[in-house]
Amino acid sequence: MMADAVETLPTQQLEAFKGVKKVPLEEYFTSGHRTCQGCESALVMKLMVKAAGPRTIVLGSTGCMYVANTTYYSTSWVVPWMHTQLGSSGSAGLGTAAALKALMRKGKMKEEPINVIAFCGDGGGADMGLSAISATLTHPQYNVLILLYDNESYANTDIQASGMTPYGAHTTFSPPGKVKRIMHTRWKKNVAGMLAAGHPESKYIGTVCASYAVEMMNRVRKALTIGGPTFIHSLDPCPKGWDYDPMLSHELGELAVNCGIWPLYDVENHRLRLYGRTKALAEKRARRQPVRDFLVRQGRFAHLTADDIDYFQAKIDEMWDKWLLPGVLPIWKDLEVDNPPAS
């Protein structure tokens, strides 16, 4: 039960689509954009608003999904859309939701549940905008979904390494050279898990991949329906940044899941649920594919040696074998007991 002080507005009750044939044909993200061929993030935008429907306001932070989607006089957005600053997705969503709430409560705007979705890239969301997203997830009275589309680089500015770029990847800020083969030695942040662990007021935090489009849309619908501040993290293959044939986008999304590098899960009302192939992997009904299969299809890993790939595989094995919640929480299972020193 909510405390008296936390007044919330009702949300739209969006039921899950039962299969791809039940998904409506209406598009709210249409022609007019100029993303690369095979851009999975553009697909995420399209599915996101398709799932949300027409009574939705979308805010988008700077990045490919701003620059390539909204050219003056040729916007691809059918729903109201507004640009926000690179690190501002959390604040944009919060401010929009707060205004709707104030205006409706004070009788200055017709009362109606309106979805608010603020999206950000990995650079804008997981690096620069993390503190604003975190703050937004602590405000139980505002209905706002933050969707992080993760193409694993600062793509719009010409593919630079971000805190979400995988280990070893070649970006324009981490090119392999004669002396240093691996310039990017960081391991990708675990954003959804981190946010779920740290934001007890959020009723929905999950990961998605557009290769599983219906599941992805249904998670958007779930988050919007549950209300309050919610968060979805989407892994989006990016032909330009990952350097592969655009035809492979869908397949690479599946590979990321099947190799265990991108676990699909959600935390709904504080309950963790692995879903899709990830669930099968966790229950050992399916075998994790070697990460090599994922890496070799992408030019950004072309300089990796067999040893590098072994290291990569070992880190993924760790995610699954050592983490307290496999693929979700990077605290190891074998808790150490802090014994006082023997006197």
């Binding site: 916007t75 957005w77 109201p80 507004m82 501002s88 604040s91 929009t96 975190s134």
Partner: protein, 406 residues
Amino acid sequence: MAKVIEKAQQEKEALISGSEAIAVACKLADVDVITAYPIRPYDTVMQYVAKLVANGELDCEYIVAESEHSQFEIVKHASAVGARVFCGSSGVGWMYAFEALTVTPALRIPMVAMVGNRALDDPGAFGVEHNDALAVRDLGWQLVWVDSAQEALDTALIAYRVAEDRRVFLPCAIACDGAFLTHSQSMVKIPPQEWVNAFLPPYNRGDLQLHPDNPITIAPQVNEDWLMELRKHNDEAMKRSRDVVIPEAYRDFERIFNRSYGNPFFEEYQTADADVVLVGMGTLSMPVKVAIRQMRKEGKKVGFVRLRWFRPFPAEQLAKTLSRFGAIGVIDRDFSFGAPYVSGVVATEIRAALYPVDKRPPLLDFISGLGGREVTVPDVRRMSDMLFAARAGTPQPLTTWVGVRE
């Protein structure tokens, strides 16, 4: 709140600080969304706002943000949806919000903010300096300096009216000197709600409102194709603010509230017969006026012009007024290292304003009162002596730091 004394004509009087006066203005303006983040000295306004909200006197979404950047972004987006918003900061807090401060006028988003003027770090200093607010002077913010709690309250109402006028749609910052105004109490007339309602129409974004009934796209990429035209729009808006909307607002204010500010853009004090004139912004008006009264007893005719609106800058009016005197002394509570003649910001602007005028008196700049140091009566007397010398034809340094240890 201090004890309230009922007066005739429904107006109440209360002993309140500049910060509290602006909080009261937020209540009277029925602001919808307010965001707070702590930094001295502006944050006293948010402490008063929080009390008003807690006591049910102000009905708004009141959000404690996690940084000034978010603080200003939140209200920017709230305003885009049609909410009347209030925000504020001081010193490095204002600078932390700089990106948000940049895009807000560019997007034609009305917003009223209070800047509790404070020295910029480093090293830390709480006291007043005007460099924080002045940093946005080129971006499309309207900037107005006030020198009393009454003027702070009145100007906040005027600021909403001007900022939210569709002919303007630009944010407005009310600059209040830290401590001298933010924390000093004086008697303030608090107008009744009906007067405010008669003066301040509801905020209406019209076809610029972000709402599913009006599915527009705000701020698509323009590049060289359109940016220049959009900048020109903002330039026109700022000019309309100066030439039409600000004067209109002050006229209506005078009619409805029965209180006149004379020329909206600057106050003139004992200028009618003055031989030399001092110019400055904010609360340094107090020691300047005291010094002028002293000097007048000694037969030294000094006047004072207190500039209110720095943006839009009333160049022609000000140049016309200032060219009447034998010498002009600008007191800058700011610095601009490496600026022309190493002067402060206000002096540099006034020099530029005077260029097209035929009669250009000597103009001396005095950098003074930085970091909250007092501008003293002897300081003002020293400045005036230099002005008289300049008037008599004895060359004086163009810029002098006054009240600084050598």
